[in-house]
Symmetry: C2
Subunit: 242 residues, 2 copies
């Protein structure tokens, strides 16, 4: 892990850019006492997503956590993934033509991302948990591509609680992986999300094997999650990461 | 309104039994400064429900509200409603026989309750809002028979926010009334509620016209709402009754 830059944000939060191998990321911390870590997901494109990620990170750090994220494969300045780009183009074409999005397109779009991203998040986790500012207790994940979150929740025992956004296309294999997830979950669903199949999101919520799983459905589209859900996230992590 | 008894509970909360006309009720307050009012619903039978109602009331009063409830028509010590009792017996028989519960039974069970209860809650509201310990600002309702809550949300302009439990049989007319509800809503759904049709609960949530409506679904049966939803309720009312 190499730190490449740092700056102070509001409220004494230290933002540091880093790389783990070839993968760039950002870490937000405050103070030197070891804090529990929340990994923040996103749809890819750290620079484009930066304003929203930094706002989420400031809220997370204010609650006493360290927050970190890394770039997704094929996104931002990372080498493109030709197969994923082709599938994304087919997806957009199908949506614009008003045609149904086939399982095949979704699998070619999402599965290569999951297969490559999950080991990268695990490598980042190894590096982050070795820092003195981060404690080696339970880790949370919040948001991002839901199939990546589900796979991480299955394969990574250090992750103890997951906040998932039901807002992206989900391959069938994610449903079978969901049946193996047993950690506490908070799933946020935008009821009128134009890029989301509501019934599929409800079916996925039903599939999780977790004894504690909560669905919060709110009105509005993909980016319209109400501000008060930030408080819900804080209380969810406070129950499970402390 | 006549107060018939009073006692001090924990934390300085004053519990007073009262009647409005022939309808008995309970009021919980703390201190003399005017507080916003939350009306607490229940399935009927104040004495049987008392432990759970008092626990909810203590939590509500601790957050700075006054809490009140009244007995439902045909329940507790009030005169029985023969038609409702007959419909309830038919409902239990159908459930025990594993038969579907017909719309007709649900309507004969719920609609007479709604028609009689709603004016009684409004009369109680008149009396309660005249008390110096209760301010004349927005009123919240929490829980109880969902069809009563929906009707109150439509016809009673003093009610500004409703927390509804998706857990009872719902006549078709409640769906058309739900389309007229525009106040902020928080709907709690127990995902595995044995006495509840999950899809019907989701359809009812979809029907509400409220711009701010949030669904919280948790695992477990009818009485298994997690304790942390008490915090959700407090934050919901803090946004809308202050």
């Amino acid at each position: 892990m190499h730190f490449t830059s740092e700056q102070r944000l509001d409220n004494g939060v230290l933002e540091r850019r880093f790389t783990v191998g070839d993968v760039p990321g950002i870490l937000w911390t405050r103070g030197s006492a070891p804090a529990p870590l929340v990994l923040m997901g996103h749809p890819g494109g750290l620079d484009m997503m930066y304003p929203r990620l930094a706002a989420r990170a400031l809220g997370t750090v204010a609650e006493g956590y360290a927050a970190a994220t890394i770039e997704l494969p094929g996104a931002g300045d990372r080498p493109r993934l030709a197969g994923v780009d082709a599938a994304r183009a087919e997806l957009l074409k199908a949506i614009q033509a008003g045609e149904p999005v086939s399982d095949d397109i979704v699998e070619r779009l999402v599965l290569p991302l999951v297969d490559q991203a999950v080991p990268e998040w695990q490598a980042a986790l190894d590096a982050l948990l070795a820092l003195p500012e981060i404690n080696d207790g339970p880790v949370g994940i919040a948001g991002g591509v839901i199939s990546i979150g589900v796979r991480l929740a299955v394969v990574e025992p250090r992750i103890s609680a997951a906040l998932l956004f039901a807002g992206s296309y989900v391959p069938r294999s994610t449903f079978s992986e969901a049946r193996q997830v047993t950690i506490p979950l908070l799933v946020l669903l935008q009821w009128d999300d134009e890029g989301n199949d509501r019934q599929m999101a409800l079916d996925l919520f039903d599939a999780f094997a977790s004894k504690e799983k909560t669905l919060h459905a709110n009105m509005g589209g993909h980016t319209g999650i109400p501000a008060f859900e930030g408080e819900s996230a804080n209380r969810f992590f406070a129950r499970h990461l402390r």
